[in-house]
Each structure stands twice: as structure tokens, then as C-alpha cells.
Symmetry: C2
Subunit: 224 residues, 2 copies
Amino acid sequence: MPAAQPSASPDDTVRGSTPQDDGPGASRAKGRPRSAAADLAILDATREALAELGWGGLTMGHVAGRAGVAKTTLYRRWPSKNELVVDAVASLFDDLVMPDLGSLRADIEAVVGQFADLLARPETQAALLALFAEGTRDPHLRRRIREAIVDPQKRLVRQGRAAAQARGELEADACPASAHEEVDIIFDTIAGTVEHRVLVSGEPITPEWTRRFTDLLLGPLTSG
Amino acid sequence: MPAAQPSASPDDTVRGSTPQDDGPGASRAKGRPRSAAADLAILDATREALAELGWGGLTMGHVAGRAGVAKTTLYRRWPSKNELVVDAVASLFDDLVMPDLGSLRADIEAVVGQFADLLARPETQAALLALFAEGTRDPHLRRRIREAIVDPQKRLVRQGRAAAQARGELEADACPASAHEEVDIIFDTIAGTVEHRVLVSGEPITPEWTRRFTDLLLGPLTSG
DNA sequence: CTGCTTTCGCTACAGGTCGTAGCGTAACTG
DNA sequence: CAGTTACGCTACGACCTGTAGCGAAAGCAG
């Protein structure tokens, strides 16, 4: 087990979505630069392998071969399979958008539908729960997952609430702290429920199901 | 609690949790019987190893050594790590009970609290999401997980609804099919949300959070 | 008691993955 | 040009998997 920093690499990539995300002014232009094409090839190969072979079938050697890179090149950028998959999957979640369709119900149903479609993709299915599982044992990885995948999507809840408040469907926030808690609860509820329905129960998200689930969410929001 | 039954039935099936569940008509009681003590030792060792080393650190060889059994004995009963862990973890979920505290709100909050406590245990944390992840790629395993772990807990929702209906807090079910869908939605919502909060967001289930989450659930249930 | 059957613990094995090290070469900078 | 870094390749020890073979043990039928 990698007890300590395994990478003596000069840049410890513990942040943004791209491994060689050299910050502004980070004068990293001394030797041969890392190939950006290799990054894309590796991330693409990771998503493909994820969809084809699943989490358990994905190996660093396979990804390297498929991407046309040496295995050592892979390890030079990502210290482990977990971190690699976080970056490979994170971008998929950026396609989610808050549509603003004119009513809170329509907005919720639209977002639930988008999330269901995302969870129907084999890459996502193979990676998401496995990453979450690894994250329960590795606080650093969990933080990375939250920063790259989970937390950015909370914008959807905030945008939806703001739109509904502008329409008068929801009251304005009493205090910021309470609003923050509310956003967290709504987010955990939508994300957790849809994930459980699709990935654990293994049953599809139908329009009928979405309608009933939205009924559940809308009750307290609209009544008080 | 498989008390050593000296009776004729050598295979006291505990809801199919017995390893390598030979179907009906399987010839038994011919040669040397399998050691029941070994089963218990293996399942205990599995839970211990899960808590100590996590899902990734758990290996068949390690479990065998810790249980004082040969590795071949382990493979003779469970074909893979996944199936072993299903059985090792399933029993933990049987402790959940529906208390019937006199109000639907109190009942929900109590069950959420129990589930949160269960998810706080390291064995559960290490195993649950990893099993779910494996289940997304293996329909047979997913079915086993549902039968052994997930579906049995839906009784809690049914019992809670029945008690609330007896109290007059909820209307009687219109039609059985609709009631079944309702139970599924409630279950996926409670299980998924609490799991997401604890295992993904990594934040604790406080009484305050439980109260707000119950508000969310209670809205539509009580209003109609 | 004597076979028959099955399980048990042990050892060994081939196959695969991990993560690292070493090498010579390629690319880019000052 | 020298200096620095990335690259592809090969090889390696360590580990886990799942199976096979062996002799011994534990039951049951006669």
C-alpha cells in the first residue's frame, strides 16, 4: 500500500481536472513538456475501458496500451487508478444544466432526467459507486471526488431555487446558513435517491417515477 | 443464530444466507459434513478484515488465515469475495427495527438514526458501496444483494406506513400497485439520501439534519 | 469394525496486476 | 551548445487469484 507520497514527480497533481494544470506563472518550462495529446488519449482510453471492462477490469497496463503510451507515463501523471478515474469521469458531469423551464416542477423533472441519463452511461455506472467506495477509506480521495464531481453540481440546486424564488414559487431565504443546509439536503436527496434507484435497485427512471418523486420533493417546499 | 440443531435437517437455511446454497434435492449428509464453526469463523473474520483493511485490503488469503481455515475451504463455500461479503454484511442489516413510537415522524427519525449508526460502522462503510459498485456489472450479484440486503429492509417502510394508517396519519392505500410504487420511492429516498450524506458527502447525521429531512418526507405524505 | 464419501489443511502452481527502477532517446530552453 | 525533463521500453519483486494434488479426518451405511 502506498503509505507515503509515491510520486517523486516534481508536480504533485492533487488538484484540478488536468494533471498538468500548471497554475498561472508556474514557470514549468524547463525540460521537455508533457504531451497534452497523451493526456487526452489517456483520459479517453480510461473512459472507454471503463465502459467496456468495468471498474474491476480496468488496469493501468490496459489503459496505457490502449492510449498508446507507456505505463510509466501514466504513473508519472496519476499516482493511482482512483485519481485517474476521477479526472476521466468528472468532465461527464459538467454537461448537467439547469434549464429554467418556467416552473420549479419542470426544472426538477428535467434535471432528474439528465442525471438519470448520465447514470445510464456505462462509464458512469462503472466508475461512480466504485469511486465513492474508495473514497470512504481515503479522505484525500473523497475530498478530490467532492471537489471535482459532487460539489460542482450543487450549483443546479442553487440555480433552481433562485429561479423559483424569482418566480415567487419559493420564499426568499431567511438566513444564509439555513439556506446552505437546505441546499445540501435537497442535493443529497436528489442525487442519493436517483443513484439508489438506478444503481442499486437497478430499475429505470420513468417519467411516472420522476413525477411521483417530484411530488415528494415539492410538498414541503411549496407548503411552507 | 444457527444453534447446532441435531435434528434431521442438516442445512438450516437462514433466508438463503447459507453459503453455496445447494438447491432442493441436493444430496446431503453423505460424507463429512461441513463445519458450521468454520462458517462463523469465516464470516466473523470477513467483517473484522473489512473493518480493519477495507474492501481493497481484504483478500481471500487473509480471511482464511484469520479464520484459521485453509484458503481452499473458503473457495469451497463462496465462489468469490463479492458473495462472501454479501453474506458477511447482510446480517448487520437485520438489526434494523421499526419501533412504532406513536407518530410517523418519530418512527421515521428513529429508523433514520438506526440506519445512520449502521452506516457509521467501518465494516458497513467498507463493504456497502463496494458491493453496490460490483453489482452494477454483475446482474447475478446485484440480485443477491437485493435479496439479502436491500429488499428485506423495505419491510420497515411497509410497517411504518401500516402503523401510520392505523393511527389515521395516512390514508389507506388506494390500490396495491400504487402502494407498492410508493413504498419503493420512499425506500429509495431514505436509503439513498442517508447513504449519500454519510458515505459520499462524508458528513454526519445529526438530529437537526434528521428533523429537516423528515420535514421533507412528511410534506406530501400528510397533505394528501 | 470396514468401506465409501466428502471435507479439511497444507503446499504448490500458473497467470495476472502493481508500482518502481534503469536505460537510451526525444523534445524543448537558455 | 549543454542542461533538463518527458518518453518508450524492458525487467523486476511482491502480491493476489483460483485451481490442483496430497494425505488425513469425520461422518454414514452395511
